[in-house]
């Protein structure tokens, strides 16, 4: 407290210079479009929420934060896309009020078991993007995919690829495999899928990073992989749908559990979520889910919140924001290429939010 009083005085001088610059910048919340003022269910909330975590759903969360400003003009929500690992760590250290994560909490993340709840938010497909001159439609089964990514298959006209694509003229271009060089939730989900769907073929294991063969190429973030694929004829890599679309890549249709080849799409993802088994704590795994229309490589993402905040106002804020995210916020998901939750899972998520204690 003392420090704060002192700080205000010291600040006064420094702040003067800055004020001249901010002037009209700081108080334009009320002019947000869609602000329904007093009759909004969230209008009586006020305060500040800090969050950090996964960069994968960042585009979606920022859309929701922006829209939420219009509903609750006295609330400031800040989501800092630091990556799942950092988010969980900062949540455990008490620096943020909630965290976004693509992977489940492990013992080493510094978050005590039982002190937090998973709230599923959205999901998105991971595409197998490729760049092959003269080929606009490609179908791959899990076994072929596993062989391609561990470089057992070296050229595009390999018998295994031909078997998946009857009637398609395939060139003998060598295959360049592009993967993430940084630790990533996308790699984790992609390799988990291969381990689950092609258990006898896939040898590299799964995790945020795996030991890729030396002849493959690494790229930073989803955009880095997308760049390698877009620049190299014969390249193939795994990229999230949002970035793959923004880069203008072609994606392969993947054979799902029911034997259908499905292209990555939001409908296919939602279908995959419906076929997923949901655990008691709402952690779920939509990879290689059952269902004729389900796209098999789907990444879930969660927000983790405290079971008890020890501060009624803070708990109300978290509840308010997450309720908004799960109701009105879901409509924004498709605009930025994320799949909303199916109704059944959404109900469970809302019930989970209700468990948050003051």
């Amino acid at each position: 407290m003392n420090r704060n009083v002192l700080s205000r005085r010291v600040l006064a001088g420094v702040a003067l210079a800055a004020l001249a610059l901010t002037g009209c910048g700081s108080n334009d919340n009320s002019s947000e479009p869609g602000g329904s003022g007093g009759d909004s269910a969230y209008a009586n909330l006020s305060g500040e929420l800090k969050a950090s975590g996964a960069s994968f759903p960042d585009a979606y969360y920022q859309e929701v934060v922006e829209a939420f400003k219009g509903e609750a003009s006295d609330v400031t929500v800040t989501y800092n896309a630091t990556g799942s690992g950092t988010g969980k760590k900062q949540f455990g250290e008490g620096l943020v009020d909630f965290a976004g994560t693509d992977s489940l909490v492990k013992d080493t993340d510094g978050v005590a078991a039982g002190s937090f709840l998973y709230v599923p938010t959205v999901a998105a497909p991971i595409t197998v993007s490729y760049n092959l001159e003269g080929v606009d439609k490609l179908q791959l089964s899990a076994d072929t995919l596993a062989k391609i990514f561990q470089t057992d298959i070296k050229t595009w006209d390999d018998a295994a690829i031909k078997a998946d694509n009857p009637g398609v003229e395939l060139p003998s271009t060598p295959i360049t495999v592009a993967h993430r060089s940084d630790g990533s939730g996308t790699t984790s989900n992609f390799t988990k899928y291969l381990a689950a769907a092609a258990p006898n073929t896939w040898k590299l294991g799964s995790g945020d990073t795996v030991a890729w063969p030396a002849s493959t190429q690494g790229g930073e973030k989803n955009t880095g992989v997308a760049q390698i694929v877009s620049q190299t004829n014969g390249a193939v890599g795994y990229v999230d749908l949002s970035d793959a679309k923004a880069t203008g890549l072609k994606f392969a249709a993947i054979k799902n559990k029911d034997g259908q080849f499905v292209e990555p799409s939001l409908e296919g993802t939602t279908a995959g979520l419906e076929g997923a088994e949901i655990a008691e704590d709402l952690s779920y795994n939509p990879l290689d889910a059952a269902g004729a229309n389900a796209y098999p490589i789907t990444a879930p993402t969660f927000i983790i919140v405290k079971t008890s905040y020890g501060d009624a106002a803070k708990a109300e804020l978290v509840k308010g924001f997450l309720t908004y995210l799960l109701n009105d916020g879901q409509e924004l998901a498709e605009e930025v290429d994320f799949a909303p939750l199916p109704a059944s899972l959404k109900e469970k998520a809302l019930a989970q939010v209700d468990k948050i204690q003051g």
Binding site: T22, G25, E66, A226
Partner: protein
């Protein structure tokens, strides 16, 4: 000592002809060659600088207008419009606070080292530590502040960023100021002492004004380095989308962090904002330089 011999030899040979015409052909050729090489070196140094400035102005100039400087950062990278006001406020406050902490401490440190400590063991230890500190990578300094301050007070703040930047600036200020103080001729100090001034008075009114221009340059170098630091800001200050003028409460942000975040996005609107932020940062650092030059010229001893 050896110089005493030369007047005698020179007077014996008569005044030597030092004009260029008197040089032999070979020497004239070497002279031209060396001059040309120096011009080439100047060009090599200037060309990248000019290219950088051209590129930043050409790409950042497009988004630069009043609303870019005064509006909030848009939450969505994909959206056009919005501005960098929070980052500009953050950069000014965080770098300003860091300079307020590091420059006085650093200059006092340099005065101790050069005027009082000299070669004493304590001074040697301080000098060694300052050199070691210069070599600490900025991200390590960010992590240090994260552990020793952010986790202690329980939140990421602009002040934490200022602390990290101050730690990065301090050794630069100490070492450059000390070098400048060392350049002040001892005769000035002796003259001042001879007039009866005490040591503190000599330091304050003779030594410091004589060295102020160099000290300013050194401090500016430190400020410019700090203003461009990205890693510690990202680690210890978090992020805001509307300006936060309170350094001690709540997240903050700064221009380099915004350049980093926006430039790595595949969306054109974000990349444009990154270029705009880069241009803003260059202009701010240039502004710091001009202001500091004006201040130092007021206090400097007028030449001749």
């Amino acid at each position: 000592m050896t110089a005493t011999a030369s007047p005698a030899t020179r007077s014996a040979a008569g005044a030597p002809d030092l004009t260029r015409a008197a040089l032999s052909g070979r020497r004239r050729f070497t002279n031209h060659l060396a001059t040309a090489a120096i011009w080439l070196a100047v060009l090599l140094a200037v060309v990248p600088l000019a290219l950088v400035i051209y590129e930043v102005v050409a790409k950042g100039g497009g988004v630069m207008n009043m609303s870019f400087l005064t509006e909030d950062i848009p939450n969505s990278y994909r959206r056009d419009g919005g501005g960098m006001a929070p980052a500009i406020v953050g950069t000014l406050l965080i770098t300003g606070a860091a300079a307020l902490m590091a420059i006085p401490l650093g200059v006092f440190g340099a005065i101790y080292l050069n005027e009082y400590g000299k070669q004493r063991p304590l001074a040697r230890v301080i000098r060694l530590m300052a050199d070691v500190m210069t070599g600490v990578p900025s991200i390590v300094m960010g992590l240090f502040i994260y552990i020793s301050w952010v986790l202690l007070v329980g939140q990421q703040t602009g002040f934490a960023g200022a602390l990290a930047l101050a730690c990065l600036m301090l050794p630069v200020v100490i070492r450059s100021s000390e070098e400048m103080l060392r350049l002040v001729p001892d005769e000035l100090r002796q003259a001042s002492m001879a007039l009866g001034a005490r040591k503190w008075k000599t330091t304050l009114t003779v030594v410091l004004p004589a060295a102020i221009s160099g000290i300013t340059s050194g401090s500016l170098l430190a400020v410019a380095r700090a203003a461009g630091e990205t890693a510690p800001i990202i680690i210890v200050t978090g992020i805001v989308f509307s300006p936060n003028v309170n350094l001690f409460d709540g997240f903050n942000t700064a221009l380099p962090a915004q350049i980093f975040r926006n430039a790595s996005q595949p969306f054109e609107a974000a990349q444009d904002r990154a270029w705009g932020a880069a241009l803003t940062l260059i202009v701010i650092v240039l502004g710091f330089t001009i202001i500091a030059r004006l201040i130092s010229s007021r206090f400097a001893i007028k030449e001749r």
